[in-house]
């Protein structure tokens, strides 16, 4: 924060976790459902009529009809989803399964994967964050970041570190939402900016939270929905030194298990061109024979 660069500490082992977009996507789609509130139609909707069918022989359709007289409602069809004022097809129920259970190991795998992806500049850029001016990814700031008190100071910190571009992109992206959500208390949409991860909140949360797009998270409570918004890995994360150090205790031999990769060396190009493989290959096939153009394609 003061502008000096201390010697970079060794990268916590989580950042070497296998990057599995499939697991992250699966866990994300399910976790996303856990925030839902139930909605349903009234149980009695459309059924509060004592209607019965007139049967055949009366030159009308056999749908149940409202009995009685003296009102335009009498004789009208009732009870069907096709009827005006009837109950809907398959009335929505409150006991629909709104939330999803996900295996704890899978959830942890996804978080580890998302953390690893946040350490790859290419993935962060591909997700759309403006990180061209950021000196290093993962971006680790001094622990004094956690005791920032004022938002103006927070803004200065981000500016000095090159992270303000991302915040400005989020600020510029504020638009009225397309669709009915705008009348349902979800008026504006905004891009996501950097995620500031701290170990102990000594004012960081209050200082940074008003900046558009910026989200905060404590290391011990990392949230996949923040690390991989939309199920897409590579959120731009800003760590405090203490948070990065805490990662080694949270994920390690005493803490949560870091998944192991199925391939230790995933660089296909190097593998194929390596001596071990090339020495065992048959010589490359020579396909000089060009098919002659047939004058008569039928014969």
């Amino acid at each position: 924060l003061t502008g000096e660069k201390p010697p970079p500490p060794p990268l916590p082992a989580v950042f070497e976790a296998p990057i599995r977009p499939d697991i992250v996507q699966f866990v994300h789609t399910n976790m996303n459902k856990n925030n839902r509130q139930a909605y349903a139609v009234s149980m009695k909707a459309g059924k509060q009529v004592s209607a019965s069918s007139w049967g055949t022989g009366r030159a009308v359709a056999r749908i149940p009809r409202v009995g009685g007289g003296g009102t335009s409602r009498s004789g009208q069809g009732a009870f069907g989803n096709m009827c005006r004022g009837g109950r809907m097809f398959a009335p929505t129920k409150t006991w629909r399964k709104w939330n999803r259970k996900i295996n704890t190991t899978q959830k942890r795998y996804a978080v580890a994967s998302a953390l690893a992806a946040s350490a790859v500049p290419a993935l962060v850029m591909a997700r759309g964050h403006k990180v061209d001016e950021v000196p290093e990814i993962p971006l680790v700031l001094d622990t004094s970041l956690e005791s920032t008190k004022k938002t103006s100071a927070a803004k200065d910190i981000l500016a000095s570190v090159g992270a303000l571009d991302d915040v400005e992109k989020a600020a510029a992206s504020k638009q009225v939402r397309a669709g009915k959500g705008k009348m349902r208390n979800r008026r504006y949409t905004l891009r996501r900016g950097p995620l500031v991860i701290y170990n102990e909140n000594d004012g960081v949360a209050q200082a940074f939270r008003n900046l558009p797009g910026v989200e905060l998270c404590c290391v011990s409570r990392l949230n996949l929905l923040q690390l991989a918004p939309g199920g897409h890995m590579g959120r731009f994360c800003i760590w405090s030194q203490a948070a990065v150090e805490a990662l080694d205790t949270i994920y390690g031999s005493e803490g949560k298990r870091i998944p192991s990769a199925s391939m230790t060396n995933a660089d296909l190009a190097r593998l194929i061109n390596s001596d071990e493989i090339q020495s065992v290959l048959k010589p490359a096939m020579c396909n000089d024979k060009k098919p002659l153009r047939k004058k008569n394609a039928i014969k």
Binding site: E133, I137, H232, A266
Partner: protein, 145 residues
């Protein structure tokens, strides 16, 4: 920074990334062209070969202040600021062709992209000349906007 292999990066990024633009049709089957808006993509096509994201070595040519610039990815592991080397291309055309060839082919840096790089430089060069007024702008016929 974590070192991730190019293939793995491409698999993660090939179906969705912020630089991809799909044109004509919405699926691979219906003949979509997938373009890529990244800086280091010479043909602006979204494919593993041309990708500027999913490669440790990538080449870009762009116009900067009325003249062209060549961008190459350096071997720098962590930093995003020093990750790209800029080589200004201010000299006359023939000289620049030599520069591009030297930086790419002779250094064994993405020799498969040499022709694409020269083609892109050609286009950027002409665009700069038209902008400066040195060369006439191609007139657009009436009725074709």
């Amino acid at each position: 920074m974590v070192q991730v292999s190019n293939q793995l990066l491409w698999e993660v990024v090939k179906n969705n990334n912020c630089f991809m633009k799909k044109v004509n049709g919405r699926s691979r089957r219906s003949g979509t062209m997938r373009f890529s808006v990244e800086k280091n993509n010479l043909r602006s096509i979204s494919s593993y070969k041309h990708s500027g994201i999913a490669s440790t070595q990538a080449v870009g040519i762009a116009s900067k202040n009325d003249s062209a610039v060549l961008y190459t990815k350096t071997a720098s592991k962590c930093a995003t600021t020093t990750a790209i080397a800029e080589i200004p291309l201010n000299k006359p055309f023939a000289k620049v062709v030599q520069t591009v060839e030297k930086t790419l082919s002779d250094n064994y840096y993405r020799r498969d992209l040499k022709n694409d790089a020269l083609a892109k430089f050609s286009a950027v060069y002409q665009a700069n000349r038209r902008a400066k007024g040195v060369k006439k702008v191609v007139p657009v016929k009436k009725g074709r906007a």
